[in-house]
Every structure is written in C-alpha cells, then in structure tokens.
Symmetry: C2
DNA sequence: TCTTGACTTGGAGTTAACTCCAAGTTGTAG
DNA sequence: CTACAACTTGGAGTTAACTCCAAGTCAAGA
C-alpha cells in the first residue's frame, strides 16, 4: 500500500504519516527496493493505533515511548502495561470532563431553544451564566 | 475574589486567566478602583464555563465568538444557539473517539495482564498489533 | 512612611503537533 | 527513452494555546 492510499484510507496527510515515522510514533515502514514506503498489514496496524490513540488525546511522546519499549522486546512488558494503564486513566479523566461540558451545553441549548420558540427570554443570559453556567 | 484565589480555586495560572480575558474568552473582569481584578460571581461563572469548555477541547476561537455574540445582545440568540449546537456535535464526536481508544486499550491491557500473570506470552505482540490492534 | 509582595500591562518566547519547502529520486505511461 | 507525477529527505515554518518577562503600580503590615 502506498503512502497515498494510506492517507486516503485514514484521512490523514502524507506529511503526518512521515512525521509519525520520523519521530517514532510508529516503527519504520517497509520500503520498496527503491526506498519508497510500501505499507504492509503490520505497518498499517501501527498507523491505525497511532491515529486512534492520538484521536483520544494521547500525547505523541507517549506513543513514541510505547514503540520504543515494544522494540526492546519482552523484558518491557511490565513497562508497557503500566504505560497503557496510565493512558487509560488519562482518557477516562478526559472523558469525564467531556461529559460535564455536554451537560452544561445541553442545559444552555435547552434554555436558548425555549427562548427561540416562545420569542421571549424568560431569563437574562447574565442570570443564566451567573447562576447556572 | 482576587486573581490568586481564582487560580487556586480552579487550579489554573494567573497568566492563563489574564490571557483568557485579553483575547476575549471571558468578558472583562470587574476591577477595584486601583485597577486590580476583583472577580465577582458573574466573572467567576464565565471563568468556570471557559475552563469547562476548554477541558472538553472546545477551541479558544469558539469561546471568543460566543462571548462576542453574547455581548451583542438578544439579536444573536440564534447564532449563539447554533454555535453551542456545533460545539455539542464536536464534543460528541470526540467522545466517540475516546470510547474507541478505550476499547482498544482495554483489549491490549487485558492481553498484557495475562502475559504477566502466566509469565507466558501466548501471542506475539507483533501478531497482536497486526491483527487486533 | 517604607518595604515587600502581589498586582498591572504589552509584548516576546515556548511547546506540541503538525505542515510546508526545496532539491533530488523513483516509477509508470507514451 | 523521455516526461512527469509521486515519491524521498532534512530542515524550516506555522498554529493554537499558553507561558514568561520587564518595567512599573498598588496595598497591607512594621
């Protein structure tokens, strides 16, 4: 699979893919004899992981560390487990914050929609932002 | 409430609070006659909102836009509602990605824990990353 | 009143994560 | 064999969101 195909498949730029490889977010990608990237199943799995975890806010540094440990072999299994657990906690924490924001948004949207429907503001925005967020 | 107290209450730096005010993420804060920030209930509500929405990944630009619309008065209620709905969609989208990452993490952690308990790798990490992510 | 520490401003600097660029190489279609 | 698009590299540039700094002002205690 060419870099272009991978880009299209995952809606990501070639620059980002090359950057991920360069800094070690993914291991070195398989090449053709001419030196052109030819993504194999394994390479693609790493790309998929990288995108998935980046999408969840996991820092590039952490992914680099994971790949480094992975390449050091079985002796790093404990370290890798810990790293993954740490990432899990961070993601759970972040998700909690998303839920709180959603609640707040829903409350505000609800208020605004009533105002729109009735054409009347039964409350001042000031009051709303002051008392209920 | 002084800037320091607000910092401590929300675990945020004074620089960030001043930055938020400067760029318009929150409206101008009440001052003492001497020009020193003296956060009132309303000011604090804005700070709380800003932190909450930033924590959910809402871009600073969007918060600035909301405050701008808010200050223009009731004629911008439709625009504000749309903005909030847009933010809501973005947060829902992001949260979905967090859930996917969590699933992947849980799967990997489960595998690693079995390896740790039994002291045996019944699978190669390569295989794991290749086939199951 | 003096000191001392927290506050003020505008502007410059930093960080993470890309994103772009120039100059050169590869590979496919005609 | 020749174009020509797509690929390669190292390195520089950009963006969002802070974060820090210098020079000066304010306010509470001795």
């Amino acid at each position: 699979m060419t870099i272009k195909e991978v880009c299209e498949k995952y809606d990501i730029t070639a620059d980002t893919l090359r950057y991920y490889e360069r800094v070690g977010v993914i291991p070195e990608v398989t090449r053709t004899p001419g030196g052109i990237r030819d993504y194999q199943e394994t390479d693609i799995a790493w790309v998929e992981n990288a995108i998935c975890f980046r999408d969840a806010g996991m820092p590039v540094e952490m992914l680099i560390e994971y790949v480094k440990l992975y390449q050091e072999g079985d002796s790093t299994i404990d370290a890798r487990t810990n790293l993954l657990k740490e990432a899990r906690e961070a993601i759970l924490e972040a998700r909690k914050k998303y839920d709180i924001a959603l609640e707040k948004l829903d409350y505000k949207i609800g208020r605004y929609e009533i105002a729109q429907k009735t054409g009347v503001l039964t409350w001042t925005c000031d009051e709303d932002d002051k008392k209920k967020g």
